[in-house]
Symmetry: C2
Subunit: 166 residues, 2 copies
């Protein structure tokens, strides 16, 4: 779909949808959403964002880089937590405004989420539940693979950075 807020794009619909030239389309903030799945299990691990620089570095290095919206800076996944992502395959979608990365987890913890879980998607929404309407989330696959307090405290001390929301 065409993002209403996207910058003007001189490329034709056919070039974008049926072409073999990579023409990533960033939104008004210069970002593209990225779905990250495990190459081993297929599960969805996280949704993150890339700007042009993060995308270029990811392609060049084969290691996932993202744009941190909370910290407004480029971020190599695992730079603090040690839980990095090696890209096995990168795909773009029909209108080239979303990416899909299949990754191998390179850290010891087999985890992507800053809360210590393997996936950021560790809660299911109950059917029929209205948003905000009492308890309606069920924890699934929510076992912690690492202790975020220990991991990020260590990173803070070691690198002098603020606590990450990675």
């Amino acid at each position: 779909m065409t993002k209403a807020a996207a910058s003007p794009d001189p490329k034709s619909k056919a070039e974008i949808e049926e072409g073999n030239v990579f023409l990533p389309r960033f939104d008004a903030e210069g970002l593209v959403p990225v779905v990250v799945t495990s190459a081993a299990t297929g599960e969805v691990l996280m949704v993150a964002y890339m700007n042009q620089d993060a995308l270029t570095r990811t392609i060049e290095t084969g290691e996932a880089h993202y744009w941190s919206r909370s910290r407004s800076r480029l971020w190599r996944k695992g730079e603090e937590s040690g839980n990095g992502q090696r890209v096995v395959e990168m795909r773009t979608d029909c209108d080239q405004d979303a990416m899909w990365l299949k990754v191998e987890l390179t850290g010891n913890a087999e985890a992507c989420c800053h809360t210590g879980r393997r996936s950021c998607f560790y809660r299911a929404v109950a059917g029929g539940a209205a948003p905000g309407d009492g308890p309606s989330l069920r924890f699934v696959d929510a076992e912690r693979q690492f202790d975020p307090e220990a991991v990020y405290r260590h990173a803070d001390v070691a690198k002098g950075t603020l606590k990450s929301s990675e």
Copy 2:
């Protein structure tokens, strides 16, 4: 991660990340990105967006509804193409600003993409390729499951609507 452009949120980090109350967090445009995977195969089928109304209708009906940015209107998946999505499981992520839907495809064509493919992610980016730098996309799983010209022309005639980018 906290979206810089998001509306102010009075909920605590702990409530959002470790609570069992569904508190979806929409961006400045009132949207949340949604990863859609096949409940049968696990493959990523598409990335779409929901506003509050689309999310509520999806939960109420069990049928995937999205916000079409190109048409600026609510959209029930399959309303024109016939290729709908029944929700098997819906998850939210750590900071509740992204959704993951596992779906069953309800149409005859076993397809999600408006180009006729099963998934919108039918092209892989070659390793080491720079964006825009010549042919660098490889078609994978790109067989068409239906003829988009025939399907959407029929819908136009039948419903008097403009050609969809669904």
